[in-house]
Symmetry: C2
Subunit: 106 residues, 2 copies
């Protein structure tokens, strides 16, 4: 949860989970989150998940080419296939370019 | 949870709640969500909230001027002030322009 520069890319992933294989999902999600951090151009991630509801993960990238490289990263692509097979009912993905950012702290 | 056209605006609001006034927060959040739907240019909303953790609300707008009009809507502005006073420890807000969208369903 931090500011990101104008021109950076936000990949907004909103997904409804199936009710099966919570342990497998959690393990894969942790692995992907750790792997994403190692990719060139990775800026950060925000994640929230309503119990029995929607999960949102936003990953932030320096530019579109680093976001696309992560999309095509082989372990990530294989995990996405598993996600379609087991973990997700449906999802949407929006790729958006950050124009301005603000933060506030009490 | 739906696709939005290229050029539309995603307002990504990530917030850490305080531990007080859950009822007041829930009431205001429902009211703001209903009010947002009535604004010109409103396209949709995605929301998730991890218990005792981060909440993410993404509202989608036809263009930047409709997103800014919502920011300046008087009831919304007043509720934001209340949020700073009572409900939020800290938050970030990213305004981003959608470049492409995908969805998938089992």
């Amino acid at each position: 949860m931090m500011l990101h520069p104008a021109g950076s890319i936000a990949v907004i992933f909103c997904a409804k989970r199936t009710t099966i294989d919570e342990a497998g999902y959690q393990e894969a999600a942790a692995k992907m989150s750790a792997l994403a951090k190692l990719q060139p151009g990775y800026l950060g991630e925000d994640h929230a998940r309503t119990e029995n509801g929607l999960g949102i993960t936003i990953s932030y990238w320096k530019d579109d080419s680093s976001a696309k490289a992560w999309r095509d990263q082989p372990d990530h692509a294989a995990t996405r296939e598993k996600g379609r097979d087991k973990w997700y009912e449906f999802y949407t993905l929006h790729v958006a370019r950050v124009e301005r950012s603000y933060d506030w702290q009490k």
